[in-house]
């Protein structure tokens, strides 16, 4: 990663729709170099995807999300990798983190309703041999995700014109 790539990443993180031309102007760098930086980062999977941050609570079709603490017996030679993959391949699973502390994996699971998530835990997750225990916590409200505040109250309170 070079300095230009880092600067480009910062600007894309704020708004993924910014194109190379706009970014080049903002950074005072040649467009070609910005394009190359973006291409290289896409190639290396530094930039994994350009996705949209959605506030699902505003969508009628509501979802429930749970965070599940999972304790695991690691496998000889592979540690947590195999089990983690087994778990993250389920489409219901939105994120998986290996954690330090009292449990091993933190698994984020999304479902249409509480029943669906509960059923995933009892029918899919818990029966995995290496899984020793699970603790499920349902998310009641998301205030902030990935540095983005969902309901911004600070807004722009400035006067329209000031000296």
């Amino acid at each position: 990663m070079n300095e230009l790539q880092l600067k480009v990443l910062e600007l894309l993180k704020e708004d993924a729709r910014r194109d190379a031309e706009l970014i080049a102007t903002m950074l005072d760098e040649p467009v070609e170099e910005v394009k190359q930086a973006i291409a290289a980062m896409e190639q290396d999977h530094v930039i994994v995807k350009y996705a949209t941050v959605v506030n699902w609570s505003k969508v009628d079709d509501e979802k429930v999300t749970a965070l599940i603490e999972v304790q695991i017996t690691p496998e000889r030679g592979r540690g947590f990798e195999g089990i983690a993959e087994h778990i993250y391949l389920y489409p219901e699973v939105k994120s998986v983190y290996l954690m330090s502390g009292a449990y091993d994996l933190l698994v984020e699971v999304e479902g249409k309703n509480l029943k669906e998530v509960a059923s995933f835990v009892s029918n899919k997750l818990s029966p995995i041999d290496a899984v020793l225990s699970t603790k499920t916590f349902f998310i009641l409200k998301k205030y902030k995700q990935d540095g983005i505040i969902f309901e911004e109250h600070e807004g722009d309170h400035r006067l329209m014109v000031s000296p």
Partner: protein
């Protein structure tokens, strides 16, 4: 007999409230920016580039410091000159950032915004009839405050061709035996112009030769792009001739807190302190705690904000040039000051029609004094999305104008 006397008194009764007013106040023209504000406020769905303040909210840790000061009962007066810790932190900050050294004990005064500091300085210095030299276009308050103290404001026009720098020959031509004070504001609101060390040297020489005092409003000091700000007070021999005015509004995104300061020779600061203690007593204590937090832990955040302004500055300057409006490169503050002369309209006409037909508010340049006509002031302290949309709208509007 007594009755007659009282009748005479009645006959010279003032006819309207205005007759009670001081002629100095009556003589002040209402600000042109105010008139434009009323016009803009009546409109919906506009994008405004007319705002002279950061689009960042004060960083949370700074706000929290003020909240904490309230929670712990910090609700009293402070020392007239400001809390000693804060003055110490300001002294350290100025020394680290701009290599100017002030003794917090008697050379630094914390004020209610930079505005109060300018008022105090002018009141402390002016004997009625003194001429106050003011390079223009400039911030709108210098001339009215000068008049309030009985001074005579003498504008010095600066030009886009010089990147709105003050040239020594122009200053020299404006100096008379009655000249006492030179007010400088670089980086400049509204032009974004800056002065380098080389630009300052001949100015400093003239100040020395003509025995002038300088009020240097350096409120945008931190907001320079490509080169570091050079304080006029850092010029050889100029420290004792300069009252440096600055504050927290712009660089630390703290406009509403009204935290400013003045630094200078202890005799001048003592005179200003005398006025300050009888008029406002001291700056609000909770705002002083917030300012202290900003200096102690807010410098990285400040640098991030400045980088963000710089990115938007490039976007806006390129935008205006692409539209076909001449735009000198602003190297400081957060304003672009493009020329709209090629459209054949005056600043007022352009700004008004841009508002009505294009849905974008920008401040007509003439409100900033000499040299402002033919320009509009556009603040780029607004989101990239809004700036992009505003530039699109201005582009369409200018295109339509030029098509006739």
């Amino acid at each position: 007999m007594i009755k007659e006397d009282s009748e005479q008194t009645v006959s010279v009764r003032r006819e309207s409230m205005a007759d009670y007013l001081s002629p100095l106040v009556r003589g002040i023209k209402p600000s042109g920016i105010r008139r434009f504000f009323d016009l803009v406020s009546s409109r919906k769905d506009i994008i405004t580039l007319g705002v002279g303040e950061p689009d960042f909210v004060t960083p949370w840790h700074v706000r929290e410091a003020a909240v904490y000061s309230l929670e712990t009962g910090k609700t009293q007066y402070t020392s007239n000159a400001g809390m000693p810790e804060l003055r110490g932190a300001i002294g350290q900050y100025l020394n680290d950032s701009f290599a100017v050294e002030y003794n917090p004990a008697n050379e630094i005064l914390v004020t209610v915004g930079g505005s109060e500091a300018i008022d105090l300085a002018l009141r402390a210095l002016i004997t009625p009839g003194d001429e106050i030299l003011i390079p223009e276009p400039c911030y709108i308050s210098y001339s009215p405050i000068t008049s309030l103290s009985g001074g005579v404001a003498v504008g010095i026009e600066t030009f886009a061709a010089d990147n709105f720098k003050l040239r020594a020959d122009q200053l020299k031509a404006a100096i008379t035996p009655r000249s006492k004070v030179l007010i400088l504001c670089y980086p400049s609101n509204p032009t974004g112009g800056i002065m380098t060390r080389e630009d300052w040297l001949p100015i400093a020489k003239l100040v020395e030769e003509n025995d002038l005092i300088v009020i240097s409003d350096e409120i945008y000091a931190e907001l320079t792009y490509g080169s570091n700000h050079v304080s006029f007070a850092a010029m050889p021999g100029m420290k004792d001739r300069t009252i440096l005015v600055s504050g927290f509004s712009k660089a630390f995104a703290m406009t509403g807190w009204r935290m400013g300061y003045a630094c200078g020779h202890s005799d001048l600061i003592a005179a200003m302190l005398k006025i300050h203690q009888y008029t406002v007593m001291c700056a609000p204590i909770m705002a002083q705690y917030a300012a202290l937090e900003a200096l102690q832990h807010g410098l990285e955040e400040k640098d991030r904000m400045i980088e963000s302004y710089n990115q938007r500055r490039r976007l806006v300057v390129k935008g205006f040039r692409d539209i076909g409006l001449e735009c000198h490169e602003p190297q400081g503050a957060f304003y672009a000051f493009p020329s709209i002369a090629s459209t054949g309209l005056t600043s007022e006409q352009f700004a008004q029609r841009l508002l009505e037909e294009g849905g974008v508010a920008a401040v007509p340049g003439d409100v900033f004094g000499l040299g402002g006509e033919g320009h509009i002031r556009c603040s780029y302290a607004t989101s990239v999305t809004q700036l992009t949309e505003a530039l699109d709208r201005i582009g369409q509007f200018v295109h339509k104008l030029k098509q006739g």
